[in-house]
């Protein structure tokens, strides 16, 4: 500890901190632009100059380490003169037209110049102009003349996003922030550059000139698009969501936001929104009053329950439905007498269901990821499935943690990977058990018989520090998910570490707490579709995009007598449903998400539901009333939540422990195996309809990726159209080469309209020349 004095205030601070950090901790503000607590020190703007006793000239507070007895003056004559001078220089080339700048009203430069600058400019010569750049559909670099070259955006890319897509080219007066040969910025975290840019150089393309910051109302909310539980500020005007920003939360999202969370809102007011209840009569869709639609739905359900039997009714919900919605949905089903309810629509192996006592979760707080020394990530498209978790692991790796990967694809994680084993899906279990075997040998001094790759991972995991095994979406959707879980448990035990699941969606934990899972008599999501029911209740589900086997799902929907689709959008359900009930997306309803670390977070609606859409929990409550099921009289979503969580100790429920499981080897059927990711902007209904996100590189039409040797075997050229088939369905897509893929696999994305005619996300698949 070191004692210093800033503006006469005595401060005790850690050795190694800088003056600006010490000042901020003591609540003293020092003007700055290039400094950012999460980025490296650049010290190029000079705004933070302060006077330091015995120093001959002002020093930059962001780059000056504290020393014992240091006396700093932030508002002395010398400091003020320096700040004023720097401000004047910064404004020399900066346009002085804040009224027409999109950043006006929330601009650091504007604020600082009011606080520290002069009243008028002494510079009357010509200012330099910097041409605008097109860097993609999300971030606007329209006004690069406003750039003050602080390089925050550059450092963010290189240090946090892990890829240096922006840089400062040329020199001095000609220095310009740009991308390499006019490329686009493709990082899944790019929107953070907008927040970081202290001026109006980088702004949000979709939000540009939509509103002034002071016209917006702000509501706290929670991200609905991944399982992290990111804190959001939803900004609205005239009952429209116009912008989404992060709210700083060091334990969850730090000060960042993924592009998915930031720009998904553009899908909220899509033309596909369902704004009136509809029923199909004589094959024609008709808009009807709520009362009519609800009675139709209730009567239909009653009819089937009384006739074919309640077990002929199945309910499916997506895992980004709220806790309240999931709770009431299962309550409704159980009230009718059916135990068929599930929210794990992309899962294919449910054999762990009666082998695990608790609710599967991350296995540790998110913040603990930063403290890991070694981590084994199994079956995860980490960067795209969990952008901010990947950023956190990236930082841990920078501090020395070792990342080990077992997966079926070898996408660039933009971090140093210590060891990796890339195998076909049917070899995933074997790869993991090799690691367990190697650890066992390592620990108990037996001779190593495992593969070299497994031994290397085992060595990394037995470092004796903080260790974790994390199972990603791919591992959870894998047909041997339970075995992977059991092996992860074994590995974690052998390495004295933790293990857990990186939840797929906002309520991957909440769904369990809400009991939206089948009981012992009920059918899980897969069996409900494999053995078609007579009636389905769908909550937020797009059957061909949200399920593990779209072919099967669509067939089940089409053969059903009654499909009640509760949805915010008018989608493909119009071809198989009988009733469409317009419900509110997360910005238009109150609700609760339980994040992957088990954090229960409730939020309020930011705007009123569009048209006649209603919060799904209310719709379900009325359905309960119409069906005369007791216990459907909650007045608020809070009442539903409290009922759902009554007497539940969430922390105590969270457990990944699994008892002995049967090993079901998947039959090696020969031929090519499918590997499927759900692309980052195809994960849920709102994201799928966000035009700016759909215009990104990440949202490109899926291709059939194969090792180039496999392509050669098939006699297919890169870029040629191939016919990819599974079961009775096939699609024609372009072939692409990825030599990092294992042999014998084809990577074809799921969750996308272009591949929705295919079958299961795992299993055999054929590729032929078209």
């Amino acid at each position: 500890m070191i004692n210093i004095e800033i503006d006469g205030k005595r401060i005790e601070t850690e050795n190694g901190t800088t003056v600006i950090e010490a000042a901020h901790k003591a609540g003293i503000s020092i003007p700055h632009f290039c400094y950012h607590k999460k980025l490296s020190i650049a010290a190029n703007c000079r705004m933070c100059l302060v006077q330091v006793e015995k120093a001959p000239k002002p020093l930059p507070a962001c780059a000056t380490p504290v020393t014992e007895g240091m006396k700093v003056f932030t508002a002395s004559e010398q400091a003020v003169k320096a700040q004023k001078g720097v401000m004047e220089f910064l404004l020399v080339n900066h346009p002085l037209d804040c009224p027409i700048c999109d950043q006006g009203g929330e601009c650091m430069l504007q604020d600082m110049s009011v606080g520290y600058g002069g009243g008028a400019s002494r510079y009357h010569e010509e200012k330099r102009t910097v041409l605008s750049k097109d860097i993609g559909p999300l971030v606007s670099a329209e006004e690069m003349s406003r750039c003050i070259n602080c390089t925050r955006c550059v450092r963010f890319g290189a240090e946090i996003a892990g890829q240096m897509e922006m840089g400062q080219a040329f020199r001095g007066e000609h220095a310009e922030i740009m991308t390499f040969v006019s490329g686009t910025v493709n990082s899944e975290l790019s929107g953070n550059m907008i927040d970081l840019c202290p001026v109006g150089a980088l702004t949000s393309k979709p939000f540009r000139y939509k509103a002034r910051s002071w016209e917006l109302s702000r509501r706290r909310s929670i991200s609905a698009h991944d399982s992290l539980g990111t804190s959001l500020a939803v900004q609205t005007k005239n009952n429209h969501v116009l912008r989404v920003l992060p709210i700083e939360n060091e334990d969850i999202n730090e000060c960042w936001l993924s592009d998915k969370d930031r720009f998904a809102y553009e899908g909220l007011n899509s033309a596909e929104r369902l704004t009136k209840p509809m029923i199909k009569q004589d094959g024609k869709w008709q808009e009807v009053e709520w009362q009519v639609a609800l009675e139709y739905a209730a009567n239909g359900l009653r009819h089937i329950a009384n006739g074919a039997g309640a077990e002929q009714i199945g309910a499916l919900a997506t895992a980004n439905s709220t806790l309240e919605e999931l709770y009431l949905l299962q309550k409704l089903m159980r009230g009718i007498g059916s135990d068929n309810v599930d929210f794990r629509l992309r899962q294919s192996d449910f054999s762990a269901d009666d082998k695990q006592q608790g609710t599967p979760w991350l296995g540790m707080p998110i913040a603990d990821i930063s403290r890991l020394d070694s981590v084994l990530i199994v079956g995860s498209f980490l960067r795209k499935d969990h952008p901010l978790l990947a950023a956190r692991i990236r930082q841990a790796v920078k501090k020395g943690a070792q990342a080990n990967i077992i997966h079926s694809v070898d996408d660039d994680l933009l971090m140093k990977v210590a060891n990796k084993t890339i195998v076909a899906p049917d070899a995933l279990v074997a790869a993991l058990s090799q690691v367990a075997q190697a650890l066992d040998a390592e620990k108990n001094g037996k001779a190593q018989t495992a593969s070299a790759g497994a031994v290397a991972i085992a060595k990394s995991l037995s470092c004796g520090g903080c260790v974790a095994v994390l199972l990603g979406n791919f591992a959870q959707q894998h047909p041997q998910a339970a075995q992977l879980q059991a092996l992860a448990q074994q590995i974690a035990a052998l390495s004295n570490g933790k293990f857990g699941f990186i939840g797929e969606a906002a309520n991957s934990v909440g769904g369990y707490l809400a009991h939206a899972t089948p009981g012992t008599k009920g059918l899980n999501a897969a069996s409900m579709l494999a053995t078609p029911r007579k009636a389905y209740v769908l909550l937020n589900v797009e059957a061909e995009l949200d399920t593990a086997n779209p072919q099967q799902a669509i067939a089940a929907m089409q053969s059903a007598d009654l499909v009640i689709a509760m949805s915010a959008y008018k989608h493909h359900a119009t071809s198989y449903a009988d009733v469409l009930l317009p419900i509110a997306p997360f910005t238009e309803t109150s609700g609760t998400f339980v994040s992957t670390e088990g954090r229960v977070q409730s939020f309020k609606g930011a705007v009123k539901p569009l048209g006649e859409a209603r919060p799904a929990w209310k719709v379900l409550r009325v359905l309960g009333n119409l069906l005369k099921i007791s216990g459907f009289d909650q007045d608020t979503s809070e009442a539903v939540r409290d009922e759902a969580l009554k007497g539940v100790d969430v922390a105590a429920k969270l457990s990944n422990t699994i008892s002995a499981i049967d090993t079901n080897a998947v039959s090696a059927a020969g031929g090519l195996q499918r590997v499927s990711d759900v692309p980052i902007y195809a994960t849920d209904a709102v994201v799928r309809r966000s035009a700016p996100l759909q215009a990104t590189v990440d949202a490109a039409t899926p291709q059939a990726w194969l090792h180039s040797e496999e392509l050669k075997k098939l006699g297919v050229q890169v870029g040629a159209t191939v016919k990819v088939s599974q079961g009775q369905g096939s699609v024609s897509i372009a072939a692409a080469a990825d030599d990092k893929l294992p042999r014998g696999v084809v990577r074809v994305a799921a969750g996308h309209a272009a591949t929705a005619a295919l079958g299961a996300m795992f299993g055999t698949i054929t590729v032929e020349r078209a």
């Binding site: 240096m164 897509e165 922006m166 840089g167 080219a169 040329f170 020199r171 390499f180």
Partner: protein, 165 residues
């Protein structure tokens, strides 16, 4: 693709730096490319980035920062004329005018036959010989007069070795 010669040169350069500091060789690598091709295209920068293992943009930053890297074709013989103070005082404006008239091009341009290019440069640290230009950044020609310039140009046109490597 970087030629075998360039790759060999870069390899030699890399030996001068610690294994985890490969980016230190980027300036030399850019120079090797320029020496061989006369200028550095974005594709060359991408190749260098891939070879050394650094972001493409970081190579671009270096290449655009230093004036002596040529980012577009600048003729077989690039004449870089110093326009800083000592040269100004010693009449570089007339030198420039003479060159422009003689070659029929302005600064930043090349002759139609691709033989000559004209660039503006900063002080070459040899003010004693002002006014001056360099040929392809390698050969310094000072105490320039109209006559001397004509002679140099004639020599270069005739395929003289001028500043060519």
């Amino acid at each position: 693709m970087l030629s075998d010669q360039i790759q060999a040169n870069i390899e030699r350069e890399l030996k001068k730096y610690p294994a985890d500091q490969r980016q230190s060789a980027v300036m030399a690598a850019l120079r090797f490319v320029q020496d061989e091709k006369g200028w550095i295209a974005p594709e060359d920068m991408a190749d260098i980035a891939a070879y050394i293992g650094m972001p493409q943009m970081a190579v671009f930053e270096v290449a655009t920062f230093y004036h002596m890297y040529k980012l577009k074709p600048m003729g077989e013989y690039t004449l870089t004329v110093c326009t800083n103070l000592s040269c100004q005082l010693s009449g570089v404006n007339e030198t420039l005018l003479h060159l422009k008239n003689k070659l029929g091009i302005g600064l930043g341009e090349i002759t139609a036959d691709g033989k000559f290019g004209l660039r503006e440069g900063e002080c070459m640290g040899a003010c004693v010989d002002a006014p001056m230009f360099t040929i392809n950044n390698k050969k310094l020609c000072g105490r320039l007069t109209g006559e001397k310039i004509d002679q140099i140009l004639a020599e270069l046109s005739a395929g003289g070795q001028g500043g060519k490597q």
